[in-house]
């Protein structure tokens, strides 16, 4: 059933582990490498690696992680329960030892072998309970009345009709509230006993009385029109509440957007104090206790500051979904953490947020393109880069900037004009090439063009083979701008990529873009996946963030783009001239985001 169960610290020291079979590969390591460190997919606690499924749980207060590994083909619905229980037992039994492990004075690795028996017990208990539940479920077969077949029998049909009739009457009652009201009014106007008498005397009427009674309930439960009339004040109150909340937020954002720092910090300060007061037991000793021992962060305490943090990120132009996800991850990593009574929750959140953002923005692949070029050239072929993106983001402009930078480093560059779609695109590149030639002494830049209306994939292929035979170091492929929803053009792009398989596919995106960034990147990646027809389709390898000089501190697009693709921002475009190409500065972006 279970193949392996591991309990380890986040630092990577395995405290206790039990393997039931030999495991091929290392699913736990790949879980940590691919999911947990990269802060992705926090909603599900399931991960597939090779032939295995992995489920995990955290004990944040002790910095410990619990991982269960099992065969992917198995369904083990009780695993969540098992993880929860094992976590509880282990933490209860070894809290002291784990704390000692962090303690610098501890010189000996404590033994956790004693957990073997307890784990077996817990596992057996959980499994037995699950088996029992399953058996119970199995031993009681479905009643015939519940089946669909029953409905087709005469009895079933009759019952169903009755049900329908009841529902229909209720429906009628709902649809004619005025009539009902008159009936009720008449009842109320008339004698109280008359109702009973009428009910007794006329059996046929009984239904209607009952039904009238029902309609009252129905009015409360189902009747939307009635509700509208009856609970208008309720609705008004709710609306007022909502208004109050949003009003507060809105004024803050609307008015103080520039002075956001002071605003926000004072908010958090207040909030922290409030919470300290809330948690403080009465009496001076209680106060001292709460001040010194601190308190444990829970979801409730975190929810409001996290909401503010999310708002702040969205204001910095981070896409909404991504701000949500990041805040969720950070909140999850903080639940269970103990804070000192006087320590500001805001500061704690900001620290963890900074760490999380740094992680996201730190590239996992090298951005040293010159080195990659040398590597490719050493095997006798030019290094190819394709520039893709939507219309008007600056593909050609930044291509020429990259070209200038490469020329400065004495590379021979060939530009392939594969934008065969927009008129003037080839001429634009020709002008760039002329300028670049004038600027650089050795004049080692050329343009490869085949006019308009041709297949861009073919032109790129010809350009690469031309580059190879003529000893060029780099081939830069300029593609036509295309909206991410334009299927024919996306197909053409996918063809270009799969035919030529460039060394780097650079997505050119504006720093001005907000929520749209997510859509663009996802659709570009999806198109390359869906239309490629290859078993291992290429994806975007890097991002060029353009118009970075126009956004001041609203740098959220940088975060959104790296978060979605997991790929680094290779270049940043910061102006109109050839020299306005920069490297990303992670520290600066994070400062701008959290300011």
């Amino acid at each position: 059933m279970l193949d392996q169960f591991t309990i380890a610290t986040k630092g990577g020291v395995v405290l206790w582990s039990k393997g039931y079979t030999d495991i091929s590969g290392n699913p736990v390591d790949s879980l940590i490498r691919d999911v947990l460190i990269q802060n992705t997919r926090t909603s599900s606690t399931k991960y597939h690696s090779g032939a295995y499924s992995v489920q995990w749980a955290f004990a944040n207060e002790l910095n410990v992680i619990f991982v269960a590994v099992y065969q992917k083909i198995l369904q083990l619905p009780y695993l969540e329960e098992l993880l929860r229980l094992v976590k509880r037992h282990f933490v209860a039994r070894f809290a002291q030892e784990i704390k000692e492990l962090i303690d610098p004075e501890c010189a000996e690795f404590p033994s956790f072998d004693a957990f073997d028996d307890e784990f077996e017990q817990v596992w057996r208990a959980v499994e037995e309970r699950y088996q029992k539940e399953r058996k119970e479920m199995k031993s009681v077969p479905r009643k015939f009345e519940d089946t669909k077949k029953f409905q087709s029998t005469a009895k079933g049909a009759k019952l169903e009709l009755e049900e329908l009739a009841q529902a229909g009457e209720m429906e009628i009652g709902r649809k004619q509230p005025s009539k009902m009201r008159t009936w009720n009014e008449r009842k109320k106007d008339g004698e109280e006993g008359g109702k009973k008498k009428g009910a007794k005397n006329k059996k046929g009427k009984e239904n209607r009385v009952w039904e009238g009674k029902m309609s009252k309930e129905a009015m409360q439960a189902l009747d939307f029109s009635g509700k509208k009339d009856g609970s208008e004040s309720d609705g008004a109150r709710v609306a007022a509440l909502v208004d109050e909340n949003s009003k507060g937020v809105r004024t803050k954002d609307g008015v103080y957007e520039v002075a956001d720092v002071a605003e926000r910090s004072s908010d958090f300060q207040l909030l922290g104090d409030e919470e300290a007061e809330q948690d403080t037991p009465k009496g001076i000793f209680g106060m001292f206790k709460s001040l010194t021992s601190g308190r444990v962060l829970s979801k409730d305490i975190l929810s409001e500051p996290m909401a503010r943090m999310r708002e702040h990120l969205v204001n910095k132009n981070v896409a909404t979904d991504i701000a949500d996800e990041i805040c969720q991850t950070v909140a999850q990593s903080l639940i269970g953490v103990r804070v000192g009574g006087l320590q500001n929750i805001r500061k704690l959140i900001e620290q963890s947020m900074e760490t999380a953002l740094t992680r996201i923005l730190t590239p996992i692949s090298s951005t040293d393109i010159i080195r990659d070029i040398d590597h490719a050239n050493s095997s006798g072929r030019p290094y190819t880069m394709a520039f893709v993106g939507v219309n008007g983001v600056g593909k050609s402009t930044n291509l020429s900037k990259v070209c200038y930078w490469l020329l400065q480093n004495n590379k021979r560059v060939l530009i392939a004009a594969c934008d065969t779609f927009r008129s003037g695109a080839v001429e634009q590149l020709r002008v760039h090439v002329r300028n670049l030639r004038a600027l650089s002494e050795n004049q080692s830049v050329e343009i490869f063009e085949r006019g308009y209306g041709k297949d861009s994939a073919g032109i790129a292929r010809d350009a690469i083979s031309f580059g190879t035979s003529n000893g060029f170091d780099v081939v830069l492929i300029d593609t036509a701008g295309r909206m991410q929803d334009n299927e024919p053009l996306m197909r053409a792009l996918s063809k270009l990529v799969s035919v030529n398989s460039p060394d780097k596919i650079l997505f050119v995106g504006e720093a001005l873009v907000g929520n749209e960034a997510v859509d663009q990147l996802q659709k570009f990646n999806q198109a390359m996946r869906d239309f490629s027809g290859q078993s291992r389709p290429r994806q975007i390898d890097g991002i060029i963030l353009t118009k970075f000089d126009t956004i001041d501190d609203r740098v959220g697009a940088a975060l959104s783009m790296t978060y979605i693709t997991g790929q680094p921002i290779v270049f940043v475009g910061t102006g109109q001239t050839y020299t306005d190409l920069r490297k990303m500065n992670v520290g600066q972006v994070i400062r701008a985001l959290l300011r």
Binding site: A8, T9, K10, G11, G12, V13, V14, L15, N26, V28, D29, R33, L36, I37, Q38, N60, E61, L62, N63, K99, I102, P104, E105, A107, E108, F109, L291, T292, G294, L334, G336, V337, R338, V339, G340, L342, Q343, L348, Q351, S352, T355, R359, T362, P363, I364, S366, D368, I370, R371, D374, W405, F548, F571, T574, L581, R582, K583, M584, V586, Q588
Partner: protein
């Protein structure tokens, strides 16, 4: 007369009030310190955050253990940390780290703060902050996977050696060629040559890199940084002797449940580095 009495009484009262206030303030301050300490500790436990040691600690005997993923950093950290006990085989198994390991230990009677930085690329940022306070750096290398990982390894080692603090303080660097028990393992002299070749190529391409966004304002500083970035001497093949920091290569094995090979030399090196 009565007036005088009253005024002295009043002043006494005021004085008493002041004393009380002062006491209260002192108490408050102490409390604040304490709670801050608690929260710092809990934060350290919770996130292994690098922010704990921002404060006063350039004098700390910090030893940074770094290197690529899956080379044996955490294992080395455990061996060093629990080496005082007579049973060395008690060092635990390890897996991929997702947080920093920080612990104090006495190595050959020298106090050391051992920091194990995870090898995943996402932790490069933490490595930079840790290196800024390092007194010694241990760079762990997988000797068996060297041929495959030489590019990444060289990149990592380059970043350590080109680090501003490492260059300024001439922080000693020990390259531990781990996993010598593997039949495919290369000898440390071979690894040294491989890394020198790779860094020789690397330093050229690093020079050609672009400035980062902020550097526009002060071009001089950027240029200065760039010259510092260049390791060794221009026009001469890169060699580890040319680096300002003393670099040494050692062989080692960290096997769970066995005595670690080469550990004594590493310990001696760390103790020497911290005493200087």
């Amino acid at each position: 007369m009565a007036d005088g009495m009253e005024s002295t009484g009043m002043s006494g009262l005021v004085l008493g009030g002041l004393v009380l206030l002062a006491l209260g303030l002192a108490g408050w301050y102490l409390l604040q310190q304490q709670s801050a300490a608690i929260s710092k500790k809990s934060l350290a436990i919770a996130s292994g955050s690098s922010s704990i040691s921002h404060g006063s600690s350039s004098k700390q005997p910090k030893v940074v253990i770094t290197g690529l993923m899956n080379t044996g950093k955490t294992a080395l950290w455990c061996h060093l940390r629990f080496s005082q006990t007579s049973v060395k085989s008690a060092a635990p198994m390890t897996q991929t780290s997702m947080a920093l390991n920080i612990a104090e230990a006495f190595i050959n009677e020298t106090r050391a703060l051992l920091v194990d930085v995870p090898g995943h690329q996402k932790f490069h940022f933490d490595r930079t902050t840790q290196l800024a306070q390092a007194r010694a750096v241990v760079f762990v290398v997988d000797s068996a996977q060297m041929a495959k990982n030489v590019r990444e390894t060289a990149e990592g080692l380059y970043e350590v050696l080109a680090n501003e603090h490492v260059q300024e303080q001439e922080v000693p660097v020990l390259v531990v060629c781990n996993k010598q028990d593997d039949p495919l393992a290369l000898a440390n002299t071979r690894i040294q040559v491989l890394l020198e070749d790779e860094i020789d190529r690397l330093r050229g391409s690093r020079q050609a890199g672009l400035d980062s966004v902020q550097d526009t304002a002060n071009d001089d500083a950027a240029a200065e940084e760039r010259t510092r970035d260049f390791l060794g001497f221009e026009g001469k093949r890169f060699a580890f002797e040319d680096v300002v920091s003393p670099v040494q290569f050692n062989e080692a094995t960290m096997v769970v449940g066995h005595d670690a090979g080469g550990l004594e030399q590493i310990e001696r090196w760390i103790a020497d580095a911290l005493q200087n």
